[in-house]
Amino acid sequence: MDVLAHAPAVEQGPSLRQRLAAKGFDAVTLLVVPAAVFSLLLFVYPFAFGFVLSFEPKGGGEWLSNYRRFFSDPFLYETIAKTLWLAIPVTLLNLLLAIPIAFRVRLMRHQRLLTTILVLPITLGTVLVAEGLLNYLGPQGWFNRTLMTLGLISQPLKLVHNYWGVFASLLITGFPFTFLLTLSYVTGIDPALEQAAATLGASAWQRFRHVYLPLLMPGLAITFCLSFVQAFSVFPSAVLLGEPAGPTRVISIAAAQAAFEEYDYSMGAAIAMIMGVVQLAIVVAVLASRGLFYRGPASGAKG
């Protein structure tokens, strides 16, 4: 239906405007142009620019030398393993916690209160969570104090300025994200399917294993990917809560240091590209395995 473009009366055959409109190009379609241009300029172009720049090393030399340097310097290449060592366990833990909790919360009447509390760390952001945890998990903080009062430990646990500080911050900001995504997938499944399975003799575990899990798999794969890439690009909390020169020197730190402390934009871009490739590799691997599962509407099928 043509709202904005009125085709003028023509004598012979359709005008160019009519032919374009028939393909879906008319004045309304043009409304997409500003946003598309904007996206090309500020998203596609920088990516392409960074990609090319990463092959033009700052100090001259051969085109691959940035990448050669990255993979020969343990201080640089070890950041991949360090980041994965944080991101994968945290993401898996978040997902494993999110699934059973989402199944419970689905039955809850006042879901909104809980989801509002859970959305707090996401809206407050990583910097504030890092700042809060510094004190809360510190040797004099309430967390250690409570454990000592309960007699569970005799010495304060060292929970900040190391791996566990970053782990805790990724849990606090990552879990709500993972959980809310999982919840939206779980509530998307028609409860009648579970009832049908029950009348057919399936126990609670069988209902989960044979009905819910296969229907949830595609959603869980996407949730894993989105949660993983967030965790993999961890930055402020790795600096503030971790040991940015040691075990929590994550790949973001290496990239930011190269670009904005050493002013080696070419190296910075190369590390950002490597970061993107690792994320992409994991996402592709997970989504490819998704092809093994059923994909389609998760409700009782209708015509």
Binding site: D190, A192, L193, A197, T199, L200, S299, A301
Partner: protein, 361 residues
């Protein structure tokens, strides 16, 4: 036939109640279903028919009373332990499993051997006439085919009782008639015992051996389709069974099974369905088919014609009386809107009911 449904004598609901908070969804529903019967639970939406079915299936716990399968009590069992087959309103087919896997689901959950599952699924497929479709996913099937899968899936586990929750409500009119016949055929071939929930009186009348009319969570009447159609026991049941002309009047006389009402000055006599006493307010209920344009003799009331529609063999019209009663009637000849006619019914076709107790509904 190797699909042999479990043998039992009767399923008994003994004063089953179900509360949702303060609300009483079911009140003391008692009902005995004998083996091989086809029972329809009929009523308007919100009457508790689906709640009753869900309580029998175990999907809702009962809050009072008990359900017995012969001598064993089943209302304390979880749904998966009851072994009743159920057909859901939206079919609830597993979208990730093909037709064969959907039908075999219950047998697989019971850990039956592969060979037995295959054999029984094949048989169920031929019973519902779905051979050749077994490798399709539910999304690739038409509504009628999905319906057949849902039925096959419920009966292949050889349940003592098959529960159906408005199974035809998602089908178009033509398919609905076809599947109605199919459901009855499968019921007969298997010798199944079926409880069928519907709000459609035609469906209940044509399918069921016995109909249970529910209203506000309580049983109003149980009877054969003929009994319900011809002699509803209460005014609200009559209303639901298609007695669209409801003439409010005062009882003038009661003689045996007959009563005479004064309706806006006209004398209407009919068969007493509920005890009425002279002087009390009562209703005369008449089907549109039985109210015809006459010459103003016995059992007639004057009315002004509002509309008249040609229906092929006859006319169907609406009219109102001076006192504001509305009528739907049948006529062999054309009558002009605005004209006054005498609407008349045979004594035998008029049912007299007491005034319904207010505040109950």
């Amino acid at each position: 036939m190797t699909i042999a449904l479990s043998q039992f004598d009767e399923v008994r609901l003994d004063r089953v109640s179900r509360d949702f908070g303060a609300l009483n969804a079911l009140r003391d529903v008692s009902l005995t279903i004998r083996r091989g019967e086809f029972i329809a639970l009929l009523g308007p939406s919100g009457c508790g028919k689906s709640t009753t079915l869900n309580c029998i299936a175990g999907l809702l716990p009962v809050t009072g009373g008990a359900i017995w399968l012969d001598k064993s009590r089943v209302d304390t069992l979880r749904p998966e332990e009851r072994g009743f087959g159920m057909v859901f309103q939206n079919y609830a087919l597993f979208p990730h499993l093909n037709v064969r896997q959907n039908i075999g689901f219950g047998l697989k959950m019971r850990g039956r051997p592969r060979a037995e599952i295959d054999r029984k699924v094949d048989e169920a497929l031929s019973l519902v006439r779905l051979q050749g479709q077994e490798h399709k996913l539910p999304g690739q099937l038409s509504g009628g085919q999905q319906q057949r899968v849902a039925i096959a899936r419920a009966i292949v586990i050889e349940p003592p009782l098959v529960l159906m929750d408005e199974p035809l409500s998602n089908l178009d009119a033509k398919l609905r008639l076809e599947m109605r016949a199919e459901i009855r055929r499968i019921h007969n071939e298997l010798g199944a015992t079926t409880i069928y929930v519907t709000h459609d009186q035609d469906e209940a009348l044509s399918l069921a051996d016995r109909i249970v009319v529910l209203r506000d969570g309580a049983v109003r009447q149980v009877g054969s389709p003929k009994e319900l159609y011809e002699t509803p026991a209460h005014f609200d049941v009559a209303d639901f069974m298609g007695f669209r002309n409801k003439l409010k009047g005062q009882v003038v006389a009661v003689e045996g099974s007959r009563a005479v009402l004064d309706v806006e000055g006209a004398r209407i006599s009919g068969i007493v369905q509920e005890r009425v006493t002279p002087g009390a307010v009562a209703y005369a209920a008449i089907r549109p088919d039985d109210l015809v344009v006459g010459d103003g003799g016995r059992n007639a009331i004057a009315a002004t014609v509002d509309t008249i529609e040609y229906r092929g063999r006859e006319f169907v019209g609406t009219a109102h009386s001076a006192g504001g009663l509305d009528f739907v009637f049948r006529s062999h000849q054309q009558v002009e809107p605005g004209s006054t006619v005498h609407l008349q019914a045979d004594d035998e076709r008029v049912l007299v009911f007491a005034e319904p107790v207010q505040g109950r509904h």
